[in-house]
Symmetry: C2
Amino acid sequence: MRFLTLTLFLLSMSLYGQDDEKTLKSIYDNSLSNGMSYVWLEHLSNEIGGRLSGSEGAQRAVEYTQAELLKLGLDKVWLQPVMVPKWVRGEKETGFVKTNKQRYELNICALGGSIATPEEGLLGEVIEVQGIADLKEMGEAEVKGKIVFFNRAMDETLILTFQAYGGCVDQRYAGAMEAGKLGALGVIVRSPNLRLDDFPHTGSMTYGDLPVEQRIPSAAISTNDAEMLSSLLEKDKNLKLGFKQRCEQLDDVESFNVIGEITGSEFPNEYIVVGGHLDSWDLGDGSHDDGAGVVQSMEVIRLMSLHKNRPKRSLRVVLFMNEENGLRGGKKYAQEAKSKNEMHIMALESDSGGFTPRGFSFDCSDEEFAQVKSWEPLFKPYLIHYFEKGGSGADIGPLKSEGMVLAGLRPDSQRYFDYHHTAIDTFDAVNKRELELGAATMTSLVYLYDKYGTAKKITIPVKN
Amino acid sequence: MRFLTLTLFLLSMSLYGQDDEKTLKSIYDNSLSNGMSYVWLEHLSNEIGGRLSGSEGAQRAVEYTQAELLKLGLDKVWLQPVMVPKWVRGEKETGFVKTNKQRYELNICALGGSIATPEEGLLGEVIEVQGIADLKEMGEAEVKGKIVFFNRAMDETLILTFQAYGGCVDQRYAGAMEAGKLGALGVIVRSPNLRLDDFPHTGSMTYGDLPVEQRIPSAAISTNDAEMLSSLLEKDKNLKLGFKQRCEQLDDVESFNVIGEITGSEFPNEYIVVGGHLDSWDLGDGSHDDGAGVVQSMEVIRLMSLHKNRPKRSLRVVLFMNEENGLRGGKKYAQEAKSKNEMHIMALESDSGGFTPRGFSFDCSDEEFAQVKSWEPLFKPYLIHYFEKGGSGADIGPLKSEGMVLAGLRPDSQRYFDYHHTAIDTFDAVNKRELELGAATMTSLVYLYDKYGTAKKITIPVKN
């Protein structure tokens, strides 16, 4: 009898009820059987394609997603204007390596934000380095007048591939700035990719405050080409590398965050945000990065609008503009929310690809984290097991404030860097079910936060 | 102080030590950085290809894997003879649907074990059913002289896709037998695939004890074609379907299980088996099914042979022949093990594809299950979270005996049925890291069983 009492006591501690189990089941069923995310992604990928900030594709994506949100019958749908940088790639880049014996063509692309080479291209000797620290040790004497080749590879032994990315992305982002200071001619970066293939990965880079005359062109080459170049350099230190790119940074232009809202029935002044970023790089169709996050976020608000009970809190889907090369949309949304004193209690971003969801990482207090950990059993039937503290998403970062929960969807990450920022980030690389499972997983978390609020406000229900 | 005591007590209950954490890390590192599984799979897929029992490919796979195991310097490598069925597909199948308005070609393939159609093909009216129960309800009057079209789809709301497969595979396996009893002309089955595409899925079928004159040809069509056929039938009940296949069941031939062994240093009479099946269907290259399981199992014994301590127990890799259409290899291995009184304490199979591993399912006692659950924390850094009771693998099933642990690797299953038994089960569908993570996960489990034995024999070490 004592045992029974203890059991009942434990059950009464569950921070959710059987109703919630049923609701999650209906969310997953609906997403898998009648979901819209895959349909939307098909259009975004195949009808619109690349959506670099300031491009025609980005504008068409704004109009398309606004129109689709309007069809959902939300309480409000609007565009939030934001000025964004406009960088254009120009004609396709070319590159080659010439040893004393042979010439090899390179799979190469300009990094986003880079300046062009002279019209006839750059040509120079190459110095290979394993990163920025390595470069700095060499110093001006060895670097000046040369093309710096950053060849640090992602660490293949890290299970979370984003950690491996974090371990080498600095050479792409700041490599040209640091090499420019030392008088280098240009920069070539190994693509951050865990496999060996022929696709160069673009991505953002910066010159910081470097004077214009020290700015040098930077480009990425494929992992196969990085391996080849490194091995050619071992045999012929004096080989020459040439590349040509016609990219250009233009003036900022106006673009938009796309926002849809269901106004809360009980606590309309408490906001929950779910989002992804609408812009993408230009080489592929941005299907994983971040078309997946966009359509999953739209699906969250669609599924929440179907639920028999109207959301208690105000729920917003925000499709952020310009995550890739400026984060202007994320900053703008946070700035306006702050100026209006809108109380955001929770924000969730999906920006790690449309692969099988494994869980979430949370940027929040211990108290808030304990709350979400108490929901773990609800997710077990869906094989959602990853509930860890960690980063959330770039776009929602600026919203951060005390007492708020920021969360990021964490899909399986093993294949993500096969596609990231490449020409093969296309619709066929996304699996329908995996995408839909991600949308359902996000919806389930949003549903629980809407129902129970964050830990500071929670009342413990008895499991019914 | 009481708290401290309690903590120490709990720690001392851990059924593993810090040594084990380090060993698992080195296993994963080695598999990801210097693994052989992907190299082996490339050969098995691209140099050998399909390996249907009795085929030249199957024989070449026997020779190749035997040669590769010999290179590993194991204590013993041998071939275990086993007689296997030999079914041949013959020339490529054709099929079409003809309504009163139009003719449509079908993506069709014979099911393994089916008889051929007459040389000029079969032609008949079609009756659509949702499964065997549905067929039986209709009875002979409606079925006789017709082509029965089994169109039950996999249940897309099931998270474990093998459950969805289990929910409709009976129509493929026994559909022709049941329809034959009712005088049908032939059988067409919807491919068990969760997505809509153009690839027919082959797979095994049976006539049971049906007299030869009641046996009818059976074939699978792609999911797109199944949808089309169903919708055409709604408009035109009298449409005709024709198909032609030249497949044939020949006499049994000799083939082999390929076995490698490291003899145990302390308990040589206790056997641990790890395996997959060497045969595959003939349409593709059997890269996921079960090339992945074969090379992962080989990698387990390779990684175990690298460990500083020689395995305590005898460890065998068994590459089973004929899982797909007879299970002769699995039965033969178990029969011989039994006749020699070999004490098998644990067997692990990988036969669910080379996708990101999620964990294992276990067919064992509660006591054994408690033991393996106690190891869960060791696997957490590798995102291995699925430890559930359930089936293991077809090939190791016949080994089952009291006090033995049978386990199956459980990779992510969302994409598996996109490839299963089709022409696109090829090398490019397997991701190197995902395959290698699976091999490391299997090795880790085998390492723990080798070190600690199964629950019945366990001694609890103090965490050091």
